[in-house]
Symmetry: C2
Subunit: 325 residues, 2 copies
């Protein structure tokens, strides 16, 4: 399998990316080829710094342009076709790689995912998810966390299927439960979106729906997968991400809050597109890069995209309807 | 002034309510009369237990019916006219008291506020707010946190005015700043609601609007008052409330997280109605009851309702338009 890794993305690129690769390769990884996208000289220097020069599983793909953090995603992708992100999506679309990982410009990664790649058959909207730390060492999954700020009930219904597949195949959660984020426990509660999504989730035979979950349940073990619109999810994710830095500043060191250090979870998968795409945090370091490669590998070896596609029902008349062959 | 206090509301009623009254009266409170609503024998027993029997500023109002926590709000209010909450709203509506406080059935308190009381002139929807603990000891205000799960842009614009008035008059924040909760910093970001609310807030001369704030800014000092729809706000509030119990279970004791013990802030005011109404947490104890009485007193002495009404513009054609005299 081939995994493309953007070496120029992230505050500590390319050195931390190189360290992450080294950590990943510390265990034998038969059959894995990593394509390193970036300014060739910089990438070679980083590889040399970690003692990986000439490694047979690593292949530098020279991408002389760099997309900065604050560049406008669409303009950057169009204006810099030789950037690592543009090249990566081109390779994905042409089948020259099996997965793309970047801790670079998040907007560009999302735009690339949505416009360079096809959606999986039947998927109405792609989505991104975040891991949630739970007490006792477990993890949950929350989605959407930002692509879809306004959602239709059908979107939440599909997020539940995609989140279930990711929790089961990638996070290793057996028979994951799904909760609908809401402001009350009973069916019928909530805003118009939640009220309309509830019966769809209840009738969905591809998931194990356990009903509404409230804000107080997010950090609890009430549902493995929690679905919500991308506005609410993004606000929640960013708030959760703000907690660890606060504990650092306050001098609070505790294993529970250490798990709010979101970097350790690697990246955020883009779900619903036809190829594995993983978006990392800008602050990604060694461990995060290693974890992102592991997730990409797992998405490929488990045939995650294929399994997900099998669970999404292709309804005639949906905007992403696939023409009959 | 007269303040009506529901003695039957809350998990630890009526004893903790009586303790809260004692704490409040430990400082001389000239001119304040407290009306104690509840089952007379129970209230008298609680007063006796804390040594307040026969106190000249306390007046028991016998309310032989009790609304339980899980009763349907509308049915309970209609079916139990002799309950403390029903009697309290009747007293408010008839001018027999100046404020109502209860830690009882939240739904009944909201329904009572919306259907027993008039809205302040020009107010489209009432709202409830929560205090947010900030690093360094400051507090912020987040609203709406649950009454309005679907909002129009105009609602958020009014929440900003109501939140500003509360922050200034009751929390003592000088010239409070207002932020719009959103998923990006720039104008134009966000869901349809946030995109439409931004220009209204920007043009609002009654507030000091500082732009969008993100999830990571909620616990930071970026804006004193943060406005959002009641779905997002409720989810955030309940998540924040869940953090303190987690720290307790995890054995984490730190002044920063102690401030996530929301009970200490007393109750949540219902803003936009013509009389002060304060809703307490079900777990309210002594300090919370004392704080709620203090907030009610402050809302009365500062003429909060009058000042708020002066800032809300009464636009012709709004659903709450007040007929010309």
């Amino acid at each position: 399998m081939k995994i493309a890794l953007d070496m120029m993305g992230g505050d500590y690129a390319p050195l931390e990316a190189a360290k992450g690769i080294k950590q990943y390769l510390a265990t034998p990884r038969a059959g894995v080829q990593i394509q390193l996208l970036g300014v060739a000289a910089d990438v070679a220097e980083a590889l040399a710094a970690v003692g990986l020069t000439g490694h047979e599983q690593l292949h530098i793909v020279d991408c002389p342009e760099i997309i900065g953090y604050h560049e406008h995603p669409v303009k950057a992708l169009k204006g810099k076709p030789q950037s690592s992100i543009s090249v990566g999506f081109g390779m994905l679309a042409m089948g020259k790689t099996d997965a793309l990982i970047s801790a670079g410009n998040t907007g560009a990664m999302l735009v690339g995912s949505m416009f360079s790649l096809k959606l999986s058959a039947g998927v109405l909207r792609p989505t991104i998810a975040t891991i949630i730390p739970r007490e006792g060492g477990k993890t949950g999954l929350l989605l959407d966390v930002g692509i879809n700020s306004d959602c239709k009930p059908e979107n939440l219904d599909q997020f539940a299927i995609m989140g279930t597949a990711y929790a089961r195949e990638i996070l290793g959660i057996d028979n994951p439960s799904v909760g609908l984020l809401n402001i009350g426990e009973e069916e019928g509660k909530g805003n118009m979106l939640a009220q309309a999504a509830y019966p769809l989730l209840k009738a969905n035979t591809h998931i194990r729906f356990v009903g509404n979950v409230e804000g107080r349940d997010i950090l609890e073990d009430k549902a493995d997968v929690i679905v919500c619109d991308g506005f609410t999810g993004n606000v929640l994710l960013k708030m959760m991400e703000s907690i660890y830095p606060i504990t650092q500043r306050q001098g609070i060191s505790h294993p529970y809050f250490d798990r709010f250090h979101f970097e350790q979870y690697g990246g955020t998968p883009v779900l619903g597109v036809e190829k594995p795409v993983i978006i990392g945090h800008g602050v990604s370091q060694e461990e995060a890069f290693c974890n992102m490669i592991l997730v990409a590998e797992k998405m490929i070896t488990t045939n995650f995209i294929g399994k997900l596609a099998a669970e999404i029902e292709v309804n005639p008349g949906t905007e992403n309807e696939v023409p009959a062959p």
